[in-house]
Every structure is written in structure tokens, then in C-alpha cells.
């Protein structure tokens, strides 16, 4: 029954697409089903004593029957899933029928009625093969802790990786060629774009577009752009130059190097001066005791002092 329901469900969508293309094997399958249903409806009508029926009313009845069976299938599936199963059981169907207001008890008697007509089985048509989307690689078997009824793993490419099989270009010359032309193209496109969107200058008065030069624009602080390396270069430089971050400018106004009094500072200063500069290299690490007048804290004005 569930099969019927599923197929009926599929059938409705099948008819819709069937109008477009009748040669499709899937459509044929659905058409055959529907024909069987029509036969069923017709035989039931004959059983009920009808001699003939209009095609339209047969169609309507077929539709109704199909809907009914579909509903049974859908409901039954819901019930079975509700109890965490994937395959509906008989009880599911019974509950469904009860729910739909059908008296189940009458069913065996109806099935065994004498005047029932036997219909030939529908012609065997192949179940349409649902086209498998990209079967790449082997699906992984379930690991032991997962019960086998659980759905299979999806295709590995969807969650592991998709290996591509393009042969990499290894020829040096071609590589260089490619890199060069790629860079050139990018640069050209970029500069052209900039030239198109901004102001330009031209070497030729009659033709502004062939060799467009981005207009020269003065900077407010020209030396910064001229001297500072670009961010990319800066990064490279930092990798090579691992010198300590300079804190001196920050500490300029902070009282980190407070010397006890003036004379002490002077003394220290002179002692620094007396050292031979050739020895000064060894003092390199002792950053903390640098006494430089520019690093000393700024003094507060003395109130008493008059200028």
C-alpha cells in the first residue's frame, strides 16, 4: 500500500511533466499505473450496475481514488515515522484508516464478496531509475556503532573532497609566461579601469583613450607615499626584521624612567658618556636603563619660579 501511495504521489508529478515529453520511460510507467486505476474504477462502476460512464466522470473518480490511496499512504508513513520506523506496518494502516473514518471491520468481508471482478495485473513496466547524482567514489560502509538500518553515508565527494584530475603544468617556460601575462593583464585592466573612472591626462590631444594616464594628483604629505614601503612589502620586512617593538615614543610622556633627582640623572648621563662607544654594543639589551634627556618626563612648572 505504501508503495502505491508513494508511486501515486510520484505519479501526480509525473503527469505534470509527462505532458511535456511522453517518450520518457518514467512517464510511461506512471501512465500505465493510471490506466490500471481507471480499469479499477470502471470495474467498480460495472459492479455497481452502471452500463456506461462519461469519460469525464471516470476521470474524476480515478482522481478521487488516487487521492484517497495517496492520503492513506501519506498518513501511514507519518504514523510509522512517528514511531521511529521507516517501514509502515499493518497497524499503521489500520490506524490510518480508522482516522479517516473507515470501518476496518467491513474490509475483510468486502474483500471476500462474491461478485468482485478480477483485474489483470498491470503490465510490468520498469520502475524509473532515479538518476544518481554524481556517483563519485565508494560510499562508506557504516561503522560498527551505527545500526545498519540507518541511511547510508552520502557520496564521499560531498563531505570529503573532490579530486580533480587535471594534469598540472610543470613546464617552467609556460609557467613564467603565464604568470607574466596574467600579471600584465591584471595590471592593464586595473589601470584602464582606474583611468576610465577617474580623471586622465593624455599624451595625444586627438586621442584620449589609447594611452590614458591617470591624472597626477598632489598629496598633502608626499614623502609618506614615497618612502614608506607598501603594506605587502612591510609584511615581508617584518618577517626579516624581528627587532623589538619600539616603545620609546609612547613612554615619552609616561613617568617610566623617573630619576630620583636632577643631579642623579646628570651623573648617570655623564657616566654613560664616558664609556667607550665600542663597548656600547654590549649594552644593547639593557633597554631599561637608557637615560636620554628626551625620554625623561616633562616637569611640572614650579609655581614659585618667576621668569
Amino acid at each position: 500500500m505504501a508503495d502505491t501511495a508513494a508511486s501515486a504521489g510520484a505519479g501526480s508529478s509525473g503527469t505534470r511533466s509527462g505532458s511535456k515529453q511522453s517518450t520518457n520511460p518514467a512517464d510511461n510507467y506512471h501512465l500505465a499505473r493510471r490506466r490500471t486505476l481507471q480499469v479499477v474504477v470502471s470495474s467498480l462502476l460495472t459492479e455497481a450496475g452502471f452500463e456506461s460512464a462519461e469519460k469525464a466522470s471516470v476521470e474524476t473518480l480515478t482522481e478521487m481514488l488516487q487521492s484517497y490511496i495517496s492520503e492513506i499512504g501519506r498518513s501511514a508513513k507519518s504514523y510509522c515515522e512517528h514511531t521511529a520506523r521507516t517501514q509502515p506496518t499493518l497497524s499503521d494502516i489500520v490506524v490510518t484508516l480508522v482516522e479517516m473514518g473507515f470501518n476496518v471491520d467491513t474490509l475483510p468481508a468486502y474483500a471476500k464478496r462474491s461478485q468482485r471482478m478480477v483485474i489483470t495485473a498491470p503490465p510490468v513496466t520498469n520502475q524509473p531509475v532515479t538518476p544518481k547524482a554524481l556517483t563519485a567514489g565508494q560510499n562508506r560502509p557504516h561503522p560498527p556503532h551505527i545500526p545498519s538500518h540507518f541511511p547510508e553515508f552520502p557520496d564521499p565527494h560531498t563531505y570529503i573532497k573532490t579530486p580533480t584530475y587535471r594534469e598540472p603544468v610543470s613546464d617552467y617556460q609556460v609557467l613564467r609566461e603565464k604568470a607574466a601575462s596574467q600579471r600584465r593583464d591584471v595590471e592593464r585592466a586595473l589601470t584602464r579601469f582606474m583611468a576610465k573612472t577617474g580623471e586622465t591626462q593624455s599624451l595625444f590631444k586627438d586621442d584620449v583613450s589609447t594611452f590614458p594616464l591617470i591624472a597626477a594628483r598632489p598629496f598633502t604629505i608626499p614623502y609618506l607615499t614615497a618612502l614608506l614601503p607598501s603594506e605587502l612589502e612591510m609584511q615581508q620586512m617584518e618577517e626579516t626584521d624581528s627587532s623589538e617593538q619600539d616603545e620609546q615614543t609612547d613612554t615619552e610622556n609616561l613617568p617610566l624612567h623617573i630619576s630620583t633627582d636632577d643631579s642623579g640623572a646628570e651623573k648617570e648621563n655623564t657616566s654613560v658618556l664616558q664609556q667607550n662607544p665600542s663597548l656600547s654594543g654590549s649594552r644593547n639589551g639593557e633597554e631599561n636603563i637608557i637615560d636620554n634627556p628626551y625620554l625623561r618626563p616633562v616637569k611640572k612648572p614650579k609655581i614659585r619660579r618667576k621668569k
Binding site: 582606474m194 614615497a226 620609546q248 614650579k302
Partner: protein, 1110 residues
Amino acid sequence: MNRKKGDKGFESPRPYKTTHQVVCINNINFQRKSVVGFVELTIFPTVANLNRIKLNSKQCRIYRVRVNDLEAAFIYNDPTLEVCHNESKQRNLNYFSNAYAAAVSAVDPDAGNGELCIKVPSELWKHVDELKVLKIHINFSLDQPKGGLHFVVPSIEGSMAERGAHVFSCGYQNSTRFWFPCVDSYSELCTWKLEFTVDAAMVAVSNGDLVETVYTHDMRKKTFHYMLTIPTAASNISLAIGPFEILVDPYMHEVTHFCLPQLLPLLKHTTSYLHEVFEFYEEILTCRYPYSCFKTVFIDEAYVEVAAYASMSIFSTNLLHSAMIIDETPLTRRCLAQSLAQQFFGCFISRMSWSDEWVLKGISGYIYGLWMKKTFGVNEYRHWIKEELDKIVAYELKTGGVLLHPIFGGGKEKDNPASHLHFSIKHPHTLSWEYYTMFQCKAHLVMRLIENRISMEFMLQVFNKLLSLASTASSQKFQSHMWSQMLVSTSGFLKSISNVSGKDIQPLIKQWFFRDQSGVVKFYGSFAFNRKRNVLELEIKQDYTSPGTQKYVGPLKVTVQELDGSFNHTLQIEENSLKHDIPCHSKSRRCRNKKKKIPLMNGEEVDMDLSAMDADSPLLWIRIDPDMSVLRKVEFEQADFMWQYQLRYERDVVAQQESILALEKFPTPASRLALTDILDQEQCFYRVRMSACFCLAKIANSMVSTWTGPPAMKSLFTRMFCCKTCPNIVKTNNFLSFQSYFLQKTMPVAMALLRDVHNLCPKEVLTFILDLIKYNDNRKNKFSDNYYRAEMIDALANSVTPAVSVNNEVRTVDNLSPDVRLILEEITRFLNMEKLLPSYRHTITVSCLRAIRVLQKNGHVPSDPALFKSYAEYGHFVDIRIAALEAVVDYTKVDRSYEELQWLLNMIQTDPVPYVRHKILNMLTKNPPFTKNMESPLCNEALVDQLWKLMNSGTSHDWRLRCGAVDLYFTLFGLSRPSCLPLPELGLVLNLKEKKAVLNPTIIPEAVAGNQFSNSQDEEEIDMDTVHDSQAFISHHLNMLERPSTPVCSQYRTLLYHKHFYQEHKKKKKKHKHKHKHKHKHDSRERDKEPLTYHSPAGGRSLRSPSLSD
């Protein structure tokens, strides 16, 4: 009077002595660019009747002067503001130069003069008679200074500190008077107290020790207190204020570096080397750095790249660089070393007078040279010496001798010691900048000659003696009168040389200092080998008649490389002996047909292929004066194979370079091979290899019809720098080996100079260069490739040849040749990429602009200055501006555009950056739109007036600029009256205002032109009188305070005229003969013609009957 005894010969030209000076600047306004402050000088009179004190001050507005707290009257008069006052039609340069020299010496502190004259209050006269101390307190302000102090205020949002606004002192020679009143002389030493109150976010850097920094009461500003206890001349005082980042030198904590915001990483890298320079100097001078601290400040819009002041140096911020930059690193280090050398000699040790300047420049240049030798090696040093020698030789041969000691040996004050020049050399402020550079260059070369004579050891002992005397003196109190020991003088220096070394250097001094002989020696050498006597007959001729040359008498070293070794011979060059016989050591030369081991000068033995030699002579090569111990130019003739041997086997880089130069004249396959071998030799000095590239290109062009194989250097380059598998693709950049880096940069530039039979650059070469650009890949390189790429653009520009033009058609895109189209494509792309990813110092933009100008000049692209003018605007990086301005200057010349010339002249007057203004004048002088002998539509009266105004009054705030304007005027119009001016009507001008008649000197040239005697002498004489006038003029004005007057021609009277004129002829005869012979040959010839063309009816009568009607 007992004071003078202590001075040991130095007599101050001033009637007083300064002991201490306080400079206090309490307000600096960046918005209005103004400065308010006061100075206080403590002086001791040295004469009893001192009642007037003359100080230097320019631009400053002086509010109040007090002497010992008493109000004092003062007069401010600056004749240099406007050199020629009277609105005469006087327009000749001789007149101006003399008037200018007079004006400058009228305020020269070394002549006891000054712009500011303070009357000592009568109450103090008694005090003065007792020679007691005087304190002069002067309140002053500066508003929008045009020189001396330079404000840089970027126009963006934010506070001044956020904007990076800064100010610094600058100027050429003694220019401190531009920003505070002082005795602006290098010979007036005193101790200093300096105070600067600045915004709390700013730092004030000045000379001496920073004693303390104190907040003002409102806590918004702080005051920097500096003390300089070492006696220092006012001219060595400097200041820099800005929101500087501070870096204490990690090796020497007493050294502090300052730079503008955001540049700290660059500063760190740039200064990381400085301590080694310190160590070097202290070691060779065996003397500690004289000041207790040292500061370096890197600022924008610098006046000069390096300026050294007492205990601090101001550098251009453009010297800063990161670790990725190769080319700038040695240049910056050289600047650092130069400034440090000047700290010892120039700042700590000062000079007595202007004529002793050469000693300071010489010593600092010399020890800087020693540092170069130590740091960059002997090759680099010798190459540098050779370069400097070539420079001075070229300059002296062009313009005449450079005098190191302008008034050596006394002599008549009146004579202009350098009559061949258009400016006076008696004062630093009248010197042309180019002359001054050459002067420095010559000074250190002469110092090297002295070293050659007395040995380096003695030389260093002399320096040490000077320094230790000075440092003893510096620690003394003023009263001991020792301070003059800190001043160096020529005679003192020479004396201590003879004391220390015991050697007589008089001949040397005579040769290089005496006035009449200033100049270089020009040798012509040739030789013949006498086989019978086995003697080398060497002939050495001298040219000492051309301007700028002199005769050399004395020893001359000649080195002869023979088969058996290298031999030095010292020849005595005498008056008449031209031929010198030199015996050869190598006897037979039968056995050696092929290869042989030849011993070289340095003891090395090398295998030589001797098959190229002349079979009869054992001589491989000959060198005259190999050690460059004479300032000379040698033109020596020897066979091509000798030059080739010299290039291949001589180990001295100078010899190699000489032979490269000589081989240009021998385009043979053998020369080609020799050059290629040199290029290939890795151990050869890279600069030699670089010049070999250019020589090879020249040879290839001369041999174009017989040249076989691929274009010169191509296969070599391919082998060195291209991939093994694909020879058309250059390797990815790796500049770790600097030698190959420089070679890699240079070779394509030289290759682009190759031309085929049609005089076009071979297609193969162009494709090759374009491929280099295309495949350039710097991703894996540790260094930046911006200089390399810039050179590739230079190479493209070099490959451009004149366009084939049909009927002068207008240049359009459609008729571009395909090659030029490719070149233009590259230039466009590079220039545009620079906007997005700027390169260091915008080297690529600079090269692109130059290349575009080349394309314009060769007629591929329509000639148009608009692009360059936009790049020349203020706000672009200075290198770009200069390159653009150079193109505009060139355009002005080629297209004779009046509009562009006006634009340039306008920029000279209005541009905010002094260096750019100076540079425009300099470039216009080097590449003038027309010269004095040329007819040009540009040469008109308005231009003369404009330029005259520029040098007369428009540039009074900057000595260098004014001298630049004088140079330009000289190049355009010559010494005499510009030919485009109409003749004045009158012989005499009556100045009604001053109630005196003045001879109109402009007519004299025409009037006497028929005469054999030179006209210009007369003008000169007239001006000579004005010299005296101006000397007296300040005192003259003191007597007539109420009367405004002019500095020149003030006492000129008609009555004196005739007498004066004839005197003149007698006096000047000797001198102008000399003049005629040399420099002014053309002038006079031209002038002889002048009366015919420009003779005015007034001209004739002007001489005889000067009319008084006006």
C-alpha cells in the same frame, strides 16, 4: 689690550667679544608661520670708546633693544635687500656683482659690520671705557620668514602635530641671522642657552644638552631648555621643531634620532649603522666626539640633504629608507658619514675667516674619504677620487680656476682675485653654488695631496693636535682667552703640518693655492721606444695657456709595465724639458712568442697572451701619475693593444677606467674582446664593468658594418641572468649579490644605445628589453626592484631614435611606429601602476617622465608641457617635481616658449620649497633657453627686467637662490649689458631726489668699444668706488639717520668723472689684458661689433659731453 696676547694671532674684526648668548623663542605659530622671542648677548668691549655695536639680523622685526637694562637706540639697515637701489637702466652683471659684493661686505661680521647697529646708551660709556661687561637684550619677531627658518605645514585637517607640521633652520653658510639677531660669523664663539616653548605634542631639537623640559602653567605647551657649554659660533646654531618620533640609538644612548610621524621603522633601519661611523672617526682621530650628545633630525623639504650644526645634523627625510632598498643605502650612509665628519671639523672646530674655509671642508672631506675607503673598499675610494678629480678638472677647464684661499698672500684688496668669474669670491654669500661645490671638492683633493706628501700618519697627528688643542680650549672659561684655539686658520694649519711632519710642503702650497696659478694641469703624453738604446722616450707636454690651467713644475710619477715587471719612475717636470728618457729593464724578447708569466705591480704574476704586442718593444703599458698626486688631466697616447693590456691586467680601477675611456677610440674586435672579458670577470670592480658596458655599446656602434654575432652584451646577459632552459626569460629577481644587481641594471641601459646600419635601435634589442620587463618577477626577492624597473624604462627611452617625419605632420596615435607603440604601452602601464602601488622615492614615475620627454623630443609624441607641469606642482614628491621641471626647462629651450619660461620664473619666486626654487634656476642655467650670443625671441627687455629684479631684490632671503639668479643672468646675457636692451639716451642721470648726478654707466661699453681697451673694466672701476662707498655707508647713515638713502653710487659726483676714468685705464691695463686673453675673448669680439648694430645717436656724445639735462 693684554687680551690680544692670549689670542695668539687671531684678532677679532669686531671691537668686542661675545661670551654667552641666550636665545629664547617663546612662541611659534605654525598657522601664521611666525616666531616671537628674544636674545640676550653678553659681550665684553675690547676697545675703550665702543659706542656702537653692530650685529647681524635679517628679516627679524626688532621691537626693543636694551643694553644693561637701559633702552638703546638702534638702526636696522640691510643693503642686501635691494642691491642696486637707484632705478637706473643699469643692467649689466659686472655692475651688479660688484654692488652685491659691496653690499654683502657692508654687513659682513668678519669685517666688523652688521645690519643692526645699536647705540650704546651714553650712561654706559664710562662702563664701556672700563671694558666691563654689556648685556644686550633684543626682543624680536619673525613673520612668514622666507629664508633661514622653513615652515612645512601640510594643509590637512587636524592639529599641527597631527598634520606633521614642522619647522627647521636652514641656509647656506652663515645664515643664522635670518632667524635671530646674533654675530653671524664662524669666528665669534660663545656659550649658549637656548629655550624654545612649543606645543606639548611637539619636540624642539637644538644644539647642546637638553637640560630639562618644563610644562607651561596651562600645561598646553612645554619649554625645552638647552645648554651648550662648548663655545660655538652663532652660524652653527640650529633648530628643528615638529611632532618628531624619538629614537634613542641602541648602541650609543647619548645619540638621539628624530623623524616625522610614521617613519620610525625607516629611521631605525637608516640610523642602525651610525655607530660604526662614530667608532671609525674616533679611532682615526684618536679623539672622542667633542659634544656630549648628538642628534639627527630628518625633515621634509630640506634645504640641503645634509646640514651639520653643533651637536646636531639636519637631514632630508628622503634619505630614510627601509632594508629593502639597495641603491639608497650607500648614499644615505655617505650623507651620515659626511655630516659626522663635519661635526669635528666645521662645527666643533670653526674657522677664522672665509679664506680658511677650505681647511675645514678639506679635512672633513678628507676624513670622510678615509671612511669611504674603510667602508666601501679601496676600489670605491679610488674611483671616487678619480670622479671628484674629473669633476674639478671639467669645471676648472670650463670656468677657470677655483681658488681655495681667496685672499692668500694679502695683496691689493681692490683686485678681484678671480677676474674670470662673474661673481666675487671674497665672500661665501656671493659664490655660485656650483663653484662652492667644486670648492669643497678641490679642498679635500688638495688635502689628499698633502697627505701624499707627508703621509697619512702625520696627517692624522695634525688633526689630532687641532682637536686636542680645541677641546682643551673649549673647557676653559672665557676669561682665559683660549677660545680662539678652536678656530682654524690656513697659516696655523700649514704651520702645524710642518711642525708635526718636519716636511716642507711649500712647493705644494705654492702650486695649489697661489692666486695666479689656480687651475689644473693638463698633460699630453706620447712615447717612442728606442730599440737600440733600449730606452723609452717619453714626451710630456703641458697646456697652461687655456683658461683654468696652470703650469706644473715638480716631480711626476710614471709607471711602466714591462715584460719583466712594473717599474716606477719619478720624472722631474721642469720648465723646458719635454722629453724624458726612461731606461727599460726588459732586455730580449725573442723567446716569448706566446704566453708568459708577467709580474704585476702588486707582486701578482699573471699569464698573458703576448701575441698582440709589438714584437720589438717590451712595453705593455705606461701610466702617467698613477696615484693622482697632481690635480691634472692626462691625455696619453699609446697603442690600442697597450690599452687592452692595461684594461685586462692592470689591477688599479682608475687605470682600468682610463683604458675603457681610451678604447672608445679603437673600435676593433680586439677591444671588443677585452671589454667582453672584463664584463665577464666576476672579481673585477663592478663600476668598471658598468662603464665597460657603455664603452662596448659605443664600439659596437662604430663597428656596426662588421659586427658579427648577436647584439653586444646580449649573450652575456643571457648567460648571467636568464634561465638555462629558456634563454629569453630572465630569472626571477635575486639581488643578493649587489655587484650583479648593478650590472643587471646597467647592461640593458647600455644595450639600448646600440644602433644598426640605419641608426635605429635593433629590433632584437628592443624585444629583449620588453621581455625583461614582461618577465620581471620580484616575488621571491628580498629587495625592492623599483630601481631596476626604473632603469628598464631608462633603457626603453635610450632605444628611442628620432621619428621619420613626413612633411612635419602633426603627431597622432595612428602614425605611431609599432616599436614606439610598444614602448608607450609600457610607460603608460608603469606610470599608471605607480598611482596604485607607488615605488620607493617614485623612481619609476621619474623615469617615465624622462622617457616621455625623450619621446616628445624625438617627435613621436606631440611636444606638450602640460603633463609635466601638472607633475611639477607642489604636493608631489620632490624627485618627481624635479624630473618634471627638467622636462619643462627642456621644453622651454627647444620650443622657445615664452609662456613656459614665465611659468618657471614665477615658480622660482613663489614655490614653497627652497630646494625646488634653487633647482629650477640651476637647471635653467645648465640648459638655458638661449645664451648670450644667440638670437632668441625670448630675449627681451621685460625678461631682463624680471631677472634683474629677481636677483636685485626678489631673492634677498636666500643667498643660494640669489647666486643662482646671478648665474642664470650670466648665462643668458653675459657680463655686459644685455644686447636686447635699447641704448639709454643720456650719459648722465640726474637723481633729483638725492640731488646728485650719476653717470649712466650703461653707455660706457659702447662708447669705448672702438677703443682697444675693454669696456667692462670701466664699469668695474665705477663699481669699485662703490665698494668703498658701501663700506662707509653704514657709518654714513648713522650720521644721517633720518635720511633714507642708497648704498651704492651715493657719493658719485659728475665732477670726479673724468679724473676717475683716466686713472682707471692706467690701473686696469694689466688686468684686462689677461682678461682678454682668456674668458672674454668672445665677449670683446662680439662687443666690437655691437656699436655698429646698436649704436645710438646718444652713444657718441655720451663720453665727451655728459649731458645734465634730464
